[in-house]
């Protein structure tokens, strides 16, 4: 299952992601980290002016609006139910233990040269590469 290499689309999307991270820095003085925003919202810590749930509403809603304008250029090819459940649990638990995910550590943390975030990003990237290698080339898609 190949996916097309999309440098222009991906760099454009990346710039929008960077713009939103920059806006959270400049307007709110906070980190745009989805795992943190979700965990705090789950604990009813909505933040000043309830910015966290409103951010999530924008995040959930905008792809729907975009998909009505034009279908996703990338498609949607998910894994099976079992990998989704295992993955979801590990992502939910691991991001709490490690205090962040791809947005908080990978984009915001690296952008401000945080040593913790650089270590975290190297750790999750390495773990993810090894996991995919094992799943696809050792177990050969048994999951």
């Amino acid at each position: 299952m190949m996916t097309e290499f999309t440098p222009m689309l991906s760099v454009s999307g990346g710039i929008l992601i960077g713009l939103s991270a920059a806006a959270v820095f400049i307007f709110f003085g906070r980190i745009l980290g989805i795992s943190g925003i979700v965990a705090r919202t789950l604990n009813f810590d909505f933040g000043q002016g309830s910015w966290r749930p409103f951010f999530l509403i924008g995040l959930v809603g905008s792809p729907v609006v975009l998909s009505m304008v034009s279908p996703s250029p990338h498609g949607f090819e998910p894994m099976g139910l079992i990998p989704m459940l295992i993955g979801g649990f590990l992502v939910g638990y691991g991001t709490r233990v490690g205090s962040g995910c791809t947005s908080g550590h990978g984009i915001c943390g690296i952008s401000r040269l945080s040593k913790r975030s650089i270590v975290a990003t190297c750790s999750f990237m390495a773990a993810a590469v090894i996991t995919v290698f094992v799943v696809r080339h050792v177990l050969e898609g048994a999951l």
């Binding site: 299952m1 190949m2 996916t3 999309t6 689309l9 991906s10 999307g13 990346g14 929008l16 992601i17 960077g18 713009l19 939103s20 920059a22 820095f25 400049i26 307007f27 709110f28 003085g29 906070r30 980190i31 979700v38 789950l42 002016g49 309830s50 910015w51 409103f54 509403i57 924008g58 959930v60 905008s62 792809p63 975009l66 998910p78 894994m79 990998p83 989704m84 295992i86 993955g87 979801g88 590990l90 992502v91 939910g92 638990y93 691991g94 709490r96 233990v97 490690g98 995910c101 947005s103 952008s111 040593k115 913790r116 990003t121 750790s123 773990a127 590469v129 996991t131 995919v132 999951l143």
Partner: protein, 135 residues
């Protein structure tokens, strides 16, 4: 004001994930599959995002105060500890298995609810399990 700005930032973020291809789990797994059907697109997502975020952080540091909130709340301690590494490794395994991290999952939940809602329920369970263990 805060709520409008937060909604708009969330919308830009979601649009960015959608445009970048982060919402297709197979694209993520292919990025991670260096030995197989490698798709390097994600490097371009980070390459586009990190410099722009860095400019935002630079502006915040210059201003010393955010535009809307009263104070900066950005972690400053640089301690590399076991939870940071172990938690990140667990997250990485989950990301590799599912091809989804939290942001893209929220961005696709209304478009592909049958697949994403089970993932998000498991994610919430994992987060709540952490709260339980911490107490």
């Amino acid at each position: 004001m805060t709520q409008m700005v937060a909604l708009l930032i969330g919308a830009v973020f979601g649009g960015g994930l959608y445009l970048a291809g982060m919402t297709n789990p197979s694209k993520i797994v292919n990025f991670l599959d260096i030995a197989g059907t490698w798709d390097p697109s994600l490097i371009f997502v980070m390459g586009g995002g990190i410099p722009v975020a860095a400019i935002g952080f630079f502006i915040l540091k210059k201003r010393e105060k955010p535009l809307i909130f009263d104070e900066i709340q950005v972690p400053t301690h640089g301690v590399i500890d076991r939870p940071l590494v172990i938690g990140s490794v667990l997250f990485g395994v989950g990301w590799g298995v599912s091809g989804l991290c939290p942001g893209p999952a929220f961005a696709s939940v209304l478009l592909e609810p049958a697949i994403i809602i089970p993932y998000l329920m498991a994610l919430v369970l994992g987060s709540l399990a952490y709260d339980r263990i911490q107490r």
